[in-house]
Point group: C2
């Protein structure tokens, strides 16, 4: 039988990264491609105890729950955010099935066909995918090491009247960039002047390497109910729980909860109750410090090896946190074409092109340093160096 | 700030049932309103052990997983369905965050604005809500005790060219009805003749009271790749896990998986792995038999008390499974208006009106018998009988 699909299927793309991962996972390849946290760091025993408590303490906890999320978890989230300067009532929080769902539900209640969304370029590719699946137009704003270039941003706001500005301002995926405080404040000023909503995606904010933290979240600087802020426990506890949250203006959160009700009734509440116990009984901040230290060490190992690659024109910025190096190669090297050769040599990365909204730079790649041990990073980077040096010679 | 929402927000409705539940849960009310399984029957110890095993056996299981679902779970689902005559390859299965998400993802990839969906009347209200949120038109087909009336169905197929026929053919919500084998086969014949997809929603199929099972699922009778079949573990294990699945033509399942990737990456895989262990280590069929026996007993208690209500014109059909009585009262009684009085008297139900696609019968109500003990059922039904008898006298 021939099936008639919806028009919106045409605007759905499969994730380039997830498709690449499927291929890579089949072989014996050292992968810098995924955005995976290190499994060895999962707090297994604490997670085990938290689930045990959640399951055995109160059988009402295993019943259907509220769409907005488990009340005790929303309270705990409000308290955690408050410590970081983001003060919001628990009723302004919606617990989601990972922060990916926050992006989707927000899109569902906000965007009509043809709406404009401004983003950095490159940016988180799965956000672009969600936005485009709602038949919106995603437009790139120029950016530099400190964030979006404000002149270009203002010009595009005036000209295009965007519905939303999407940013990953802290240890961004894919570039590892951190927006300066000044840019954060100016972004808010422009958003307020022109009445544009900001969507702040912050999955990596906890993963800082410096003693000095990144500037405060944009949401915590917002005085005009302009910002939706989303984060997740996928990088700080375990991804398999799929627990994220979004906080922001109650009017938007309330409508998103209504959309969520139709989508999946509510987020897995075994995991929500387990998280409540974990946050009470386990020193998650100490655990996060261990993650930071481990990732910082791995980042330094990768940096050291990047520095030994004999390739004029190779550039990167040392990340101050997060999970990725963003590497620019000489213009002559197309990283999408090179990937096959790299995989054959036993090392993988993600080509940079899919992260671009427009004008992809084909000579870029994203390298993850969190999911491989220092020894594997060394081994993989030696392979990658060879691949790059040979590619350069051939050209 | 004033926010500009999407057009589709206008087509979103909050669930009448969930809104009612919020009110009821605040007071000291015996509730026959929800569709909740009995918490006392949750297999706590088996669930606890299954999660313990899932969390401690393999830390890769706590990493990001495949969008389609955990391979071992899809295999186990294929085996379970095969025993019930529904033979499908694991690759034709998508694990979802409850069967509610299966309805939503299916809608997302299939429906355009203005598409027609045929349903029974009344039917599962949260399905109507999802369909309408995609700006479709849901049209009711006449039905009787055995399922849809085929003449009306064929006429509407020819006249309206529907995209899909949505059915809950086994112990349906809200009516408790079971489609006869003949109607199931004829539905397939019509769907095949006119090339219409069938969506079979089967959350209650396991909850049979008779020795004799209901007729086979429509999906298991399908020889032409016409049927999408969805079910869930919410009624047989615990709802809080939010694990459902959908099985059907690979072409549709594949596109739904792509939509799911953008929606929430994948379903909570701690719970998926736990379910794999539960299905291996625990006699779930024996457990389901205990659930059946308990619910059957409660249904009989409620029936006995329904029979004592002194109200000419009160009608119901004894359910052969599932969780609900569907009660029709004299035309003069409006159950929506009566609910306030009932709640004040300490008993609650769901008015029938929201379950109707069109022409709601205002003198209907849905009574749940699974979430109250026999004693509470007696107490609540005595209160309800008084409320009904007095309402009748006043009119």
């Amino acid at each position: 039988m021939k099936y008639g699909f919806s028009e919106r299927v045409k605007f759905m793309k499969s994730s380039a990264v997830r498709d690449i991962l499927k291929v890579i996972n089949q072989g014996n390849v050292i992968s810098f491609a995924g955005g995976l946290p290190e499994e060895e760091l999962f707090p297994i025993s604490a997670v085990d105890q938290a689930f045990h408590k959640a399951i055995t303490t109160n059988n009402k906890a295993l019943q259907y729950g509220e769409t907005e999320g488990v009340a005790a978890l929303r309270l705990a989230l409000a308290e955690r955010m408050k410590k970081k300067g983001l003060t919001r009532d628990p009723k302004d929080i919606l617990v989601t099935s990972g922060s990916q769902q926050a992006i989707d539900l927000f899109s569902r209640v906000m965007f009509n066909k043809g709406d404009i969304i401004l983003t950095e370029n490159p940016t988180y590719l799965a956000a672009i995918q969600v936005f485009e699946s709602y038949e919106t137009k995603v437009v790139a704003v120029e950016s530099d090491d400190n964030g979006m270039v404000l002149a270009d941003l203002e010009e595009k706001i005036i000209k295009l009247k965007p519905k939303c500005i999407y940013v990953v301002p802290t240890y961004s995926n894919p570039t590892g960039k951190v927006w300066s405080l000044e840019r954060r404040l100016k972004l808010l000023e422009l958003a307020n002047r022109y009445h544009v909503v900001i969507f702040e995606d912050d999955p990596y904010g906890e993963l800082q390497f410096d003693q000095q933290a990144a500037p405060p979240s944009i949401a915590s600087l917002d005085e005009n109910d302009l910002v939706l802020y989303t984060s997740t426990f996928s990088k700080t506890v375990v991804p398999a729980m799929r627990i994220g949250w979004i906080v922001g203006p109650h009017q938007i959160i309330r409508i998103m909860a209504q959309a969520k009700q139709a989508t999946d009734l509510h987020t897995n509440s075994v995991s929500q109750h387990a998280l409540v116990h974990l946050l009470n009984d386990f020193d998650i901040d100490k655990h996060i410090q261990t993650i930071r230290d481990t990732y910082f060490e791995r980042m330094l190992v990768m940096k050291e090896l990047l520095d030994t690659v004999k390739l004029e024109g190779l550039e990167y910025m040392e990340p101050k946190g997060g999970m990725f190096f963003w590497v620019t190669l000489p213009k002559s090297i197309n990283t999408t074409e090179l990937l096959d050769i790299a995989v054959k040599e036993g090392v993988a990365y993600v080509p940079g092109a899919p992260f671009y909204v427009s004008n992809p730079e084909l000579n870029t790649m994203r390298l993850n340093f969190t999911n491989s041990s220092p020894n594997l990073i060394r081994e993989g980077m030696e392979k990658l160096a060879k691949v790059l040096e040979r590619a350069n010679l051939r050209l």
